[in-house]
């Protein structure tokens, strides 16, 4: 079976849904969303706690409620959805290969493609703990899915490694369901989780958080029986004298997320080692013409509202591409300056930007009061004050188009020899916050 679409969106999470809706609003007709799960909504279906949508809808929703708003919108349109459909690859002719119980093996053609496959969790292999491999070890997200979707409790006595928000939320969730969460361990000297989650997920339930701690060994043959924990020194090496055995039947790992890019690689989309997602431009175009990316597949977002915002750009980009109004010129390039881990988008075509360009960035260490600055040559083109910046919190930074154009040497859009103008983004610390490590 070979079918032809104007736009195929891979992944039906918040990013895929918002991208499809945006493309539709910009006039694209023949749209298909491919989703491997049995329902739309992506990871939000299992995030049953509240706190979503504060920016986008100006109210606090749970994950499924946030998703449902988009699902309802999609159902009002003619956007086609194939559930239970796994995309296997995108070949050199930009054809999409997918498989589903209903349709078997499919090869789909599309004028444009949006990648919205989300991210996956780092697994145990990625963090190397000594010991046997008994059952009872889960990533926090897998445990979340088992409890909140499948209605199955994975254990009774829990130790959680990693204090990111997913780990914290799961500490509370398992406690509510009657498990004993013994502790949350964090290798670093501060938690990556939000303050609100530390208070409402740990302190509310008297669950201890041990900073500068890790797990050095997992015990048990068939099932986890316990773990050996240890304090770490400033080089993150375990301190022998601090080894302590903690009995437990379940270990949850909440040690980070990685964009899911197997399919992007098959399409020869160029990936950035800093974000682990594709290099993209202002409308989230990748290096392969007609392929766009948004959401967690591009870079790990901590707030879903920004996913929806970014996805709308990709949908608009795809619509322009399909109409033949997409110019692949790169006029600008964003560069990591002092204190910055990554800036997105990595490139820009200023002619596609209406009045502002929204940059997303992360800092490489905690800052107290500071200023985020964007420079072209010796000109400061934009700045923003922050009271505190943490590596775990994505920063949203707007630059006005006029400011960029005013300081750039722009030649006609088609000039082949044009080198992109560099926009350097950096953090300038104003003072050290004494409460920070």
């Amino acid at each position: 079976m070979t079918k032809q679409y104007d736009l195929v969106v891979i992944g039906g999470g918040p990013a895929g849904m918002a991208a499809a809706l945006s493309a539709k609003q910009h006039g694209v007709e023949n749209i298909l969303i491919l989703e491997r799960d049995k329902e739309l909504g992506g990871i939000l279906n299992q995030c049953i706690h509240n706190g979503f949508g504060v920016h986008h809808f100006k109210e606090e929703l749970t994950g499924p409620e946030y998703s449902a708003r988009f699902i309802t919108e999609i159902q009002k349109t003619s956007i086609e959805i194939m559930l239970d459909t796994m995309v296997l690859k995108i070949d050199n002719h930009r054809q999409i290969h997918a498989i589903s119980p209903n349709h078997g093996y499919m090869v789909l053609k599309s004028k444009a493609i949006i990648l919205a496959m989300g991210c996956r969790e780092r697994t145990r292999g990625a963090i190397r703990i000594y010991g046997s491999r008994p059952s009872g070890i889960y990533t926090a997200g897998t445990a979340q899915r088992l409890i909140n979707i499948n209605g199955y409790m994975p254990g009774k006595e829990i130790v959680i490694l990693g204090s990111g928000d997913i780990g914290l939320v799961m500490a509370r969730r398992m406690t509510l369901e009657g498990a004993q969460v013994k502790m949350v361990l964090e290798l670093q000297s501060r938690s990556n989780g939000t303050l609100r989650n530390i208070v409402q997920c740990l302190e509310d339930y008297h669950i201890p958080l041990y900073l500068n701690h890790t797990i050095v060994q997992i015990h048990g043959k068939n099932r986890v029986e316990g773990v050996t924990i240890a304090k770490v020194d400033e080089n993150l090496a375990p301190i022998k004298a601090s080894y302590q055995y903690i009995p437990c039947d379940t270990l949850l790992l909440s040690v980070g997320l990685i964009p899911e890019n197997e399919i992007s690689k098959s399409a020869r989309v160029k990936l950035d080692s800093r974000t682990r997602g594709p290099f993209v431009g202002e409308l989230r175009q990748t290096n392969i013409p007609g392929i766009f990316a948004c959401g967690n597949v591009l870079h790990v977002h901590d707030v879903v509202d920004f996913v929806s915002e970014e996805a709308a750009l990709a949908g608009y980009g795809a619509a322009r591409y399909i109409r033949g109004q997409f110019d692949t010129t790169i006029t600008h390039q964003t560069i990591n300056g002092e204190g910055v881990t990554y800036v997105l988008p990595q490139t820009m075509n200023i002619y596609h930007i209406e009045d502002t360009c929204n940059l997303y960035l992360r800092v490489n260490k905690p800052y107290g009061r500071c200023q985020i600055e964007a420079w072209i040559g010796n000109t400061l083109i934009a700045s923003k004050r922050e009271i505190r910046c943490l590596p775990s919190e994505m920063i949203n930074f707007k630059i006005r188009k006029e400011a960029i154009v005013g300081s750039s040497d722009l030649r006609p859009a088609q000039a082949i020899d044009q080198q992109p103008t560099q926009i350097i983004v950096k953090i300038v610390g104003m003072d050290r916050d004494p409460s920070l490590p």
Partner: protein, 125 residues
Amino acid sequence: MTQQEMICICCPIGCNLSVEKIDGVIRVTGNKCPRGKAYAEQELLNPERIVTTTVKLTGGLYPVIPVKTGRPIPKTKIFEVMDILSNVEITVPVHIGDVVVKNILDTGVDVVITKNDMGGEYERS
């Protein structure tokens, strides 16, 4: 006299607050703005939380469906609410906002569904 240390979670600064109640008068220190004072008073006198969990569902895509308390409830009642909800079983179709338990534990708060499941038709193609 009651005294409590807490972190204000109303903004990213996260002030370390100290709250004291002496002869019925509450004194908050450590807050950089009035929101911190209001937060500390609420947390000391009547801390409340929204509870989110799941209840059993028959005939749905999955065996459980998520629910939440429509408004925050007193923190002290969280486990009682969980107990009640662990015995609730409902059948499709369910819609966001459907009431599962009315006025739970006389808090004046309803427990409502947070996900749609009409039963049956999951495939649209």
